[in-house]
Symmetry: C2
Subunit: 238 residues, 2 copies
């Protein structure tokens, strides 16, 4: 653990436990640097983390304050969507029903999203994710075979992401998503058990590896009444 992370953790605790109350001025960087016995640059780097998290804000000339919203939003399940459902809903019982598992050559659209050639095979899979017995999301997924090599039905029924991380030792760098509303298709109605006029929340995403190679293109179709997508966007610049 590097110093600035350790300090950020300590400072976060002080905010969450009220040692530094909401809207209060906290000590200046020089005092804090002295207290933690680090240089001021390192202290600032620790505070940068808390600012990114929306816990503090800084006003040049005035000082550093605890944000009014500091005690909210202590959940970040939004951004790490591609970590997989299994990890996100770790309290609940998540199972997967594999509806389709094939290999094929990519369509024009898939080629574009995964940045691959015409004759580079992809896995195509459709999975229904079931949470505590209720149908939750219907996922249509495409992955290049050479990146996700060695998939089996057994893996699909559990967590693909665990396999990717632990067995293949591949790590994600980010994702690009689009969110739409859509009418439900017969397919949705059948598997998600929704009514004919129920809308669908579709999340279309491309997940990238750390080096920027596209790893997965998927469309996740959610029942409109069980899922909302959450985004927090705090202190992005300065």
């Amino acid at each position: 653990m590097v110093k600035y992370e350790a300090i950020a953790n300590e400072m976060r605790q002080r905010i969450l436990t009220g040692t530094y109350p909401i809207e209060s001025l906290i000590p200046d960087q020089i005092s804090l640097a002295k207290e933690f016995r680090v240089s001021r640059m390192t202290m600032k780097k620790a505070l940068d983390i808390l600012a990114m998290e929306g816990l503090i804000y800084r006003q040049r000339g005035s000082g550093t304050f605890v944000m009014k919203t500091a005690l909210l939003n202590q959940q970040d399940s939004a951004v790490n969507e591609y970590e997989g459902l299994t990890k996100q809903l770790s309290g609940k019982k998540v199972t997967s029903k594999v509806i389709e598992f094939n290999v094929e050559f990519p369509s024009e659209e898939i080629m574009k999203h995964l940045m691959i050639k015409k004759k580079q095979p992809v896995y195509k899979l459709v999975r229904l994710r079931v949470v505590d017995g209720n149908p939750y999301v219907l996922e249509h997924t495409y992955m290049p075979v050479d990146l996700a090599v060695g998939l089996t039905e057994e893996i699909l029924e559990q967590s693909i992401y665990r396999y990717i991380h632990e067995e293949l030792d591949l790590h994600f760098g980010g994702a690009f998503r689009k969110i739409h509303a859509d009418k439900s298709s017969h397919y949705d109605q059948e598997y998600l058990n929704c009514k004919i006029d129920d809308p669908i929340l579709e999340v279309e995403q491309v997940v990238y590896l750390k080096d920027g190679r596209p790893f997965e293109y998927s469309r996740s179709r959610h029942r409109y009444d069980t899922r909302s997508y959450t985004i927090s966007d705090i202190n992005r610049n300065n």
Copy 2:
């Protein structure tokens, strides 16, 4: 303009114009620091920006590479949603029809979202935003009167955000959003001119000022066929 931003701009140009091609190794930090006549820490800070933008990735021990995806995603209209429609769609003709403009005491829910007291009045307004003559989004907005003081119908018909920034000199720190799909109400059908079984994409958001005070709570209801919500999430950690 600070040094690291200027250097980041120059490096970004080199990537976008192909001076540093896709997937290539770029010079090491020490060489670059020499070239730009800055310290290595400053050079690293410039590269940090490009990494956040998803243009490069760095491998300790190996070097810094241009991401395969560097030439994509050169649009970021997603994250700055609260900058307002007028700014986002600056090529098109955006008008607003004010459907409701009132002042009232907040409901329980509004009190919670805006973190205000029971007797603190709020503006309630409903606007239909029209882009190039087509109904685009129906916005239900609540703002504390003491923060958005002095709103007039005239301002509402143009850009609220311009008024807030330029006249009131208030600046945003971030936003917190939830995205749902929903069935259309009679209200939606009337103003958005959509069919009875058309779904709606609703974006519910709280916008915060830099000091964390909630400034606006709104629900924006979009036609499902004209709007998708885009999120890019690259290199968030490391």
